[in-house]
C-alpha cells in the first residue's frame, strides 16, 4: 500500500482525520448531513448485442473458470460477489480460487460483505492474486486489515453506499459473480427457492445491472422460466451449475433465537415501551429491527403491546425472521419489506406470501436517488459498539480499534423518524458510552434515543420526544448520568488503547464522502 503522509490527510466536518485518496482514487471528505450534493450521470454497462449470445437462450458453460476466462479476466480487475449466503457461502471463494488457477494477479474483490468462512482470501492476498477487498471485514479478514497487511486500503460502505458507489461509477465492476439458489439457463435467478434458498438476492442487483460481465452460479437449475426472478437473465453473460453453492446450515438458521439474558430482555422491553409511551406505536406505523437477540425480543414485546392496544403496522422492514413473519401472519402488519432473510420461516414466507416483499439496496437505502424507503420508517432499532456524549456512534470497531462488524444497513437506517440504539451500558467491564468514539459511523444528530438496561437517554435535539414521554414511567436519564454510573461500576474510565498512525481503511458516509479512518492496530 502507498504509505500516506500527514499532508495526505484532512480534518473533515466531523473533526475526524481522513485521507484525501484511497487506492489511488481521490476522496471527498464528509461535509455534514445532507451537505454534499453529487452531480453528473450514472455509470452504464457496455451495450451488448443479442447476436453475441446463443439463440436458444442457453448461457451455460462448463465451469466457473471457463466463465471467467470467457469474460476476459485480467490482472487488476474487480470481481464482485454478494453475501446473501452469509457464512455458508462457497461461491465467492470458488471465484477467487478460479482466478488463482487462471494465473491473474492484483484482483480487487468487491463483496457486499465478507465472512469468517472466507478467510482463504488471506492466502490469496498474501500470494498476490488478490490485491485488496472493498467491503465489510471481520474475524480473520478484519484482523488482516487492521494489522496493516492488506496491500490496498479497506473501504467500508453501507449497503446503500455500495449501491451508490456502483451506480455512480466510483467502483467499476468488471465481473460480477452471483450465487443463485435457483436459476434458468438464460440467467434469470432468484433466492427464494432451492436447497440453498436464502430469500432475497437484493445485494446482487446493482452488480447485475452495472457490471461489464455477469456470471450466475447455481446448484438448482430449472427449465426456463425461473419464476419469480429477482435478477434478470438479460443482464447475465454466463450460467454455471455446481453441486452446491453453500452450506444451508450456515446460510439460514433453522430457528432464530430470542435472547435469554434478563438484562438484554429488559433493554428490549424498554425499547418497546418507549415506542408505546412516545406515541410512535399507533395504527399505520412502521418500524425496522435487526436479527440480533435484543431485536427479536423487542419485536416480541412490541407485538404484545400492539395486540393490547389494537394497533396494526402498515409495514415492517427486515432482516426477516420468524418473529417478523408472525406479525404478518397474525395481521399485525400489512407488509414485510425484506432486504435479507435470516431463517427458514423467513424463506418460507417470502416464497409464499405476496405481502412479504423482497427489496434491494436501491429501494431501501440508495442515497443518490429520488428518495429511499429507510427515511419512511417511523422507528428503527439498531445496535452499536460505542456511543459518545454527542450521540455519535460506532458500529465497526470495538474500543480496541479492531474491525468487528460491517456497517450493513446501519448508516442508511439512521434516516428513520426515530433512531434508537439498544445497547447494554457496558460489556465485560468495558463501558459502551465513551468520551469519543473510536470510529465514527453515525453522526449524533441522527441518533435520537439510546436505550440501556440502566435507563433511556434522549438526544437533547429531540425536544419532541422528550415532551412525548413526559409523565411516563420510563427510566429517562441523561447520557452523562448513565456514563458516570457505569464508570463508577467499572472502577473508573478505561484506558484508551493507542492506535497506530497508519490508516488501513476508510469509513464512508451514505453519500460517498469519507466519515472516518480505521487506524492500524499492531
Amino acid at each position: 500500500m502507498t504509505i500516506l503522509e500527514k499532508k495526505d490527510f484532512v480534518l473533515n466536518a466531523a473533526g475526524r482525520t481522513v485521507p484525501k485518496t484511497a487506492n489511488e482514487r481521490r476522496q471527498t471528505p464528509y461535509q455534514g448531513v445532507g451537505k454534499f450534493e453529487a452531480q453528473g450521470s450514472k455509470a452504464a454497462s457496455p451495450i451488448r448485442n443479442a447476436s453475441g449470445y446463443s439463440e436458444n437462450g442457453d448461457k451455460r458453460v462448463a465451469d466457473l473458470e471457463t466463465a471467467l476466462r470467457k469474460c476476459g479476466l485480467r490482472d487488476g480487475m474487480v470481481i464482485s460477489s454478494h453475501h446473501h449466503l452469509r457464512d455458508g457461502d462457497r461461491v465467492a471463494m470458488m471465484a477467487l480460487e478460479a482466478a488463482e488457477r487462471i494465473g491473474v494477479k492484483d484482483i480487487v474483490w468487491f463483496p457486499s460483505a465478507s465472512f469468517p468462512s472466507q478467510k482463504g482470501a488471506i492466502d490469496l492476498m498474501a500470494s498476490g492474486v488478490v490485491h485488496h477487498l472493498e467491503g465489510s471485514m471481520n474475524g480473520p479478514l478484519g484482523d488482516y486489515c487492521t494489522q496493516g497487511k492488506m496491500r490496498g486500503m479497506g473501504i467500508l460502505r453501507s449497503h446503500g453506499g455500495r449501491w451508490q458507489a456502483i451506480q455512480d461509477g466510483e467502483v467499476h465492476i468488471d465481473i460480477a459473480v452471483i450465487a443463485a439458489p435457483t436459476a434458468d439457463a438464460f440467467g434469470n435467478c432468484d433466492g427464494s427457492h432451492g436447497k440453498s434458498a436464502c430469500g432475497s438476492l437484493g445485494f446482487a442487483l446493482a452488480d447485475s445491472v452495472y457490471a461489464d460481465h455477469v456470471i450466475v452460479v447455481t446448484d438448482n437449475l430449472v427449465p426456463f422460466p425461473c419464476v419469480p426472478w429477482q435478477i434478470q437473465g438479460n443482464n447475465v453473460d454466463y450460467v454455471v451449475t455446481v453441486d452446491s453453492i453453500g452450506d444451508p446450515a450456515r446460510i439460514v438458521s433453522g430457528t432464530t433465537q430470542i435472547t435469554r439474558s434478563p438484562d438484554r430482555l429488559r433493554i428490549a422491553e424498554l425499547v418497546a415501551a418507549f415506542l408505546r409511551d412516545a406515541g410512535i406505536m399507533r395504527n399505520g406505523f412502521s418500524f425496522q429491527a435487526g436479527a440480533g437477540g435484543i431485536s427479536l425480543a423487542f419485536i416480541s414485546y412490541l407485538k404484545q403491546m400492539m395486540k393490547a392496544a389494537g394497533v396494526k403496522a402498515r409495514f415492517v422492514r427486515g432482516g426477516s425472521t420468524k418473529y417478523l413473519v408472525e406479525l404478518l401472519e397474525e395481521s399485525l402488519t400489512d407488509y414485510i419489506l425484506d432486504g435479507q432473510t435470516f431463517d427458514l420461516d423467513g424463506v418460507r414466507s417470502i416464497a409464499n406470501n405476496p405481502r412479504h416483499v423482497a427489496t434491494s439496496p436501491f429501494t431501501s437505502y440508495n442515497y443518490h436517488g429520488k428518495g429511499n424507503f429507510a427515511s419512511l420508517v417511523d422507528a428503527v432499532v439498531l445496535g452499536a459498539t460505542e456511543v459518545d456524549l454527542s450521540f455519535n456512534a460506532n458500529v465497526v470497531t470495538h474500543s480496541d480499534g479492531r474491525l468487528l462488524h460491517g456497517i450493513g444497513g446501519w448508516q442508511n437506517c439512521l434516516a428513520a423518524g426515530c433512531t434508537i440504539l439498544a445497547v447494554p451500558s457496558f460489556r465485560d467491564r468495558i463501558p459502551i458510552i465513551v468520551d469519543e468514539v473510536t470510529s465514527l459511523c453515525g453522526p449524533g444528530e441522527l441518533i435520537d434515543v439510546v436505550v440501556t438496561e440502566r435507563g433511556i437517554a434522549i438526544n437533547p435535539l429531540r425536544q419532541d420526544l422528550i415532551d412525548a414521554v413526559k409523565g411516563s414511567k420510563l427510566p429517562i436519564r441523561s447520557l452523562q448520568e448513565i456514563k458516570a454510573e457505569v464508570e463508577r461500576i467499572c472502577g473508573g474510565k478505561p484506558r484508551r488503547p493507542k492506535l497506530g498512525d497508519r490508516a488501513v481503511a476508510i469509513i464512508k458516509w451514505i453519500d460517498g464522502t469519507v466519515l472516518d479512518s480505521v487506524w492500524q492496530v499492531t
Binding site: P262, R266, S399, D400, D428, R429, C490, G491, R495
Partner: protein, 404 residues
C-alpha cells in the same frame, strides 16, 4: 478452572474461574514464597482498557493482606473491582495468608432502614458464588434481592461466596430493593454473620429452622456484632421452615424474636423430608403452607411462599402465585428475573378489591367526619380490623402504582 480447595502442594491458594464461557469473574492463583517480592502475571479480557488498573489493584489488595512475597497469576474475564478484591482475598486465605484481615471496597450509599412490614411480593435469589448476577440484579424490579450463601453455593465455595457477598453489600447499588442474605445453617451461619452483619443487610434468612432456640442464637449473634460495630439500623429475620418438625413448631418459631419480620417455607427440602414428590398443584404441601400463613398471622409477621422452581413454566407460575395469594401469602421467592412481573401481577389487588377497599375507607372517613362511633357501608357495619385491612390494601396498591 475451578479449584475451591487448597491443592496438594502446600500453601498454594486459588479462587475464581476463567475461560471463554466465564464473564465478570476472574481466577487467581497465589503461591507464597520466602523472598523475591510479588510477581504478578496477568491475562485479561479487558487488558487494553484496565490491565494497568487490575495490576495496581492486585498489588494494593495483596499489600493490605500483608502478602509480600508470592508468585501470583491472574486470568481475568472482565471482573469488576469488588470481585477482584474478593477473589484475591479468598485465594490468599486459602493459601494460609492474610488471616484476620479483609480488604473492603468503598461503600455506595444505601436507602434508609427497611420497615418491618414493607412490601415483599418478590425476592430474587442470586447465588452468592456467581458475581456476574450481582451488578444488574436490582434492575429487574424485585422488592428484595437475596444474596445466597446456602444451597446455591457449592460446599467448597462457601468461603469465597461469603467474601463476594460481603463486598457486594458494600459496592453494589441495589437501588430500592431490600437487601437480604441467606446464611448457612448453624454453626457455619455464625461465620457468615461475622462478615455480613457489619454491612447492614436488611434481612437475614435463616434456613432449616426447627426450633425457637436456633432463631435466638442467630438473633444474639447479630445483636453482638451490631453492638461491636455501633450499628443502629434494624436487621430483620426471616426463618425458613423446611421440615415436618419445623412446620409443627411454626408459631413458636414465628414468635421467637421481635426481630422476625416474616416466615417462609422451603418446599424442596420439606417435600424431601416427607418423602413425597413435588406436584404442580402442591397438594402435598398444602397443610404446611396453610400452617405457615396461620402461624405468621397469629404472630403478626408476614407469611411468604416458597419459590416456583420451573422457570420455563410461566402458566404454572401464574397459577401457583394466584393460589398462593388466595391462601393468604404476601409474596413469593423468585429464581429468575422473568418470574418477577408475573408474581407482582398475581399479588396485586384486583380492581374490584381496590374499589371495595376505597369504599370502606371512604365510609370510615365519612363516619369520622360526622363524629359517628359506627362505620357503615350501605346497610352493613364495618369493624375496625376491616378498615385497617382496607387502608393497608390502598397503601399497597399505591406503592404498586395501581392507584394515584
Amino acid at each position: 478452572m475451578n479449584m475451591g480447595i487448597e491443592t496438594a502442594t502446600k500453601g498454594i491458594g486459588e479462587a475464581g474461574h476463567h475461560g471463554p464461557e466465564i464473564r465478570s469473574d476472574l481466577h487467581v492463583r497465589i503461591e507464597p514464597r520466602e523472598s523475591g517480592g510479588l510477581e504478578i502475571e496477568l491475562e485479561s479480557r479487558v487488558k487494553p482498557y484496565y490491565g494497568d488498573a487490575i495490576r495496581q489493584q492486585a498489588q494494593d489488595v495483596l499489600a493490605s493482606l500483608g502478602v509480600r512475597h508470592a508468585q501470583v497469576s491472574i486470568h481475568d474475564e472482565g471482573a469488576l473491582p469488588f470481585v477482584i478484591a474478593a477473589r484475591i482475598e479468598t485465594a490468599a486465605l486459602r493459601a494460609g495468608l492474610g488471616v484476620g484481615t479483609s480488604v473492603l471496597p468503598n461503600r455506595v450509599s444505601n436507602p434508609g432502614p427497611s420497615p418491618r412490614d414493607r412490601m415483599r411480593r418478590s425476592r430474587l435469589y442470586v447465588p452468592g458464588s456467581e458475581p456476574k448476577y450481582f451488578v444488574n440484579a436490582a434492575l429487574h424490579g424485585a422488592d428484595a434481592i437475596i444474596l445466597d450463601l446456602e444451597d446455591s453455593v457449592h460446599p467448597n465455595e462457601k468461603d469465597a461466596a461469603r467474601v463476594l457477598v460481603r463486598n457486594a453489600l458494600r459496592a453494589v447499588d441495589f437501588l430500592q430493593c431490600e437487601r437480604m442474605v441467606r446464611i448457612n445453617q448453624l454453626p457455619l451461619g455464625l461465620e457468615d454473620l461475622q462478615q455480613i452483619v457489619p454491612e447492614s443487610p436488611d434481612v437475614i434468612l435463616i434456613p432449616k429452622v426447627e426450633s425457637a432456640d436456633q432463631v435466638l442464637v442467630v438473633a444474639q449473634k447479630i445483636a453482638e456484632i451490631k453492638d461491636n460495630y455501633g450499628i443502629a439500623r434494624p436487621i430483620w429475620l426471616m426463618p425458613i421452615l423446611e421440615s415436618a418438625l419445623g412446620i409443627v413448631k411454626a408459631y413458636e418459631i414465628a414468635t421467637a424474636s421481635p426481630e422476625i419480620a416474616a416466615l417462609t417455607i422451603g418446599l424442596e427440602d420439606y417435600t424431601a423430608d416427607l418423602g413425597v414428590a413435588k406436584t404442580a398443584t402442591g397438594t402435598e404441601s398444602l397443610f404446611a403452607r396453610q400452617r405457615i400463613v396461620n402461624a405468621a398471622h397469629a404472630a403478626g409477621v408476614q407469611p411468604i411462599d416458597s419459590v416456583f422452581g420451573d422457570v420455563g413454566d410461566i402458566e404454572g407460575l401464574h397459577a401457583w402465585s394466584l393460589s398462593s395469594r388466595v391462601m393468604g401469602f404476601e409474596g413469593m421467592g423468585c429464581v429468575h428475573p422473568l418470574q418477577i412481573p408475573i408474581v407482582h401481577q398475581a399479588f396485586a389487588p384486583t380492581p374490584a378489591e381496590i374499589e371495595r377497599a376505597r369504599n370502606i375507607v371512604a365510609a370510615y372517613h365519612e363516619a369520622e367526619r360526622k363524629g359517628l362511633g359506627v362505620i357503615t357501608l350501605g346497610s352493613k357495619m364495618i369493624d375496625a380490623p376491616v378498615v385497617q385491612r382496607a387502608l393497608k390494601l390502598i397503601t399497597r396498591a399505591r406503592a404498586m402504582g395501581l392507584v394515584e
